[in-house]
Symmetry: C3
């Protein structure tokens, strides 16, 4: 039995409707997303959330993180720069979110290659994140099936991470999304594959991290975690395609991408899904 509502053999029109509804819910409810993220991507993360219509709140200190996780619509925990106080806040926020029933996303940046954050990620895993979002090497390392890559770089094909994603989903009961040229999204015994997007997303800092935050926004505004995760990935991909057309390099790309995040609504998601589902 799947814990996810998205129809297992839905007609194409049902999936398109699900992602459009998810986008409309983000617009309509402005979910408050608590972000405990790394120091490099705070600004782009907040700006992507605001552009999508969500409300970012970077409450990431150990005194306040647990308190806020009870009232937030969703929580993002991103391991990019885990100093001691932020790590303590992450543990507290994850535990508090789980207790309160607040959905939360774990982004295991660079897990595998570095022992401190790998141990932290495994502890957080015990709190059963609603979604794990990472690149292939990070997901493989988090599942204990390999050593991980170098930093945030990804050189491993997302397909190679599907067994690891499945093992993690089985363990958490949640969704696992592996980012790459084709994203692989696993929930229980289901797998969705999503193409599209732009290679430019890898040439500016924080696009993947902001995607993790946007997933949290969708999880906070949508009944079905799988539909929300799919919609967030599609949202980022469509905006990136639109932005790539209008840009001269990675500097102007990120500006146009934030504009396009704002301009991409339910209709665009509904129209754009089917061509990109693999």
């Amino acid at each position: 039995m799947s814990a996810f509502d998205l129809p297992a053999r839905a007609a194409d029109s049902d999936l398109s409707e699900a992602v459009a509804d998810a986008r409309a819910s983000v617009f309509g409810t402005a979910p408050l997303v608590q972000c405990l993220t790394n120091t490099v991507v705070t600004t782009i993360t907040a700006n992507v959330l605001l552009a999508a219509g969500a409300a970012p709140a970077m409450v990431d200190n150990a005194h306040e993180a647990a308190e806020f996780a009870r009232v937030a619509a969703a929580v993002l925990i991103n391991l990019g720069t885990p100093d001691d106080q932020r790590a303590e806040a992450m543990r507290a926020a994850a535990a508090s979110a789980t207790t309160a029933g607040t959905r939360w996303v774990l982004d295991p940046v660079a897990v595998g290659g570095l022992s401190f954050r790998t141990a932290l990620a495994r502890d957080l895993l015990d709190q059963r994140p609603t979604l794990i979002r990472g690149n292939a090497s990070e997901v493989i390392a988090l599942a204990g099936m390999g050593e991980g890559g170098r930093g945030v770089d990804t050189t491993v094909d997302p397909e190679a991470a599907e067994p690891a994603a499945r093992a993690l989903s089985s363990r958490t009961g949640g969704v696992v999304a592996v980012s790459g040229p084709t994203d692989v999204i696993v929930a229980g015994d289901r797998t969705l594959r999503l193409g599209g997007g732009s290679e430019m997303l890898t040439r500016t800092t924080g696009a993947g991290c902001a995607l993790g935050a946007l997933c949290a926004a969708y999880l906070g505004a949508t009944a079905d975690p799988l539909a929300g995760t799919l919609a967030a990935h599609l949202h980022v991909a469509l905006a990136a395609e639109e932005a790539e057309i209008r840009t001269a390099g990675p500097g102007s790309f990120v500006v146009a991408w934030v504009d396009a995040i704002s301009a991409t609504g339910p209709d665009e998601l509904a129209a754009g899904l089917l061509d990109r589902l693999a």
Copy 2:
């Protein structure tokens, strides 16, 4: 008796001259603004200060904050992400600024909803900030007249915060500015109201926080705190109006806004004030 030099019943031309002079002073003196601010907005804060002609210095660790507050032209203390060391640095900087006679701004981000930072803000209040700048719910919460909003979000009309602003101004002897569609600026028994600006300022992260920093720059370059505060708010509003015309979304807005901050000089402030004074 008012402690502020701005004529209580100034002719319109006097007010216009005051804001133009303040702008010219920022250009001419390049005030060194020490910022102890949150990790989300450091870059936009520094860029707005540089665009205006001020000199940002993010000296926010506990070892150096007090030392630097003695030599800075003004200090900004923004409570957005108060980890332990930054909170300690804030206490030290506020005390040092007050002792040295350095003007300083308190931006009580998300005070009210979170107990740790609310206690910190109340301690800082005892050091009598030259200016408190926040949204309505933050100002109400800081004055102990309500519980505050959710994060940096503001859903309360600035007019509703005027009694709280007046109470705080009475307590500190300084200025209190409540940001919103119409800004309410209170100093002693005086109140100024400033319209204009752009709703786009709420759709990118850090616009309000950067305004707080720009207020510090003006306080560091201008004799009268009320004139300086008014000029900083007008500067941000005019630049936002100019930027909004030329942008396609929140990504391009912030780029154009920084350009416009740089391009907006004394003449624009003098010409723009009267239409926006409510």
Copy 3:
């Protein structure tokens, strides 16, 4: 005897070939650059590195910094916001880099005016950075020949820092680069001077800090540290000149500058060097 391979009396064509080769090596090897930098410039630093074709990794906590410095291609240590844990991580990373033979860059931001970071910088100096990059007042202060300026501001002519740069180079055996309208780059008994660039680089935050990171990328991809340092400075200058043409203010400048960093390749460096060598 010079420890640097760049021909002491090279024909112009040899120098041009050296900087072009260095640029091609950054493209070809995508050096992994560990950055321990300040909280204001993390995003622009990562984006400049990505635009150039390098791979940034902001591993700056005390648990992981030494471990990562052994595998990184190069390390940047920038003293802009040295809180306690970051300072501890910097000491560990510098020691680890020196032991492992990983090249590293010291950017002594605001050293001289503040005692805590000045002491930290002097300790780091004992680890013999491959490159020291700063403005004139910082280099003079680091060498113990003066008191330094106010914050990151530079009001001292780079030429005035040449004796200090020479003393530091003699002490470390490495390169010392003094940034200004004309950059002064010293290695042992050699001095190179490079003009060009744009005054706009001083009107946006983090341009100098990002230059330090780009130097690290070149050091991680190039045999000769002096050639790599020269190429990084030229790369930033050419991109700034290109960006300045297309921009309306400091906001659009930084966007165009990142675009131009990406677009500036070996041919542009080879063609642009001679006109800018002083």
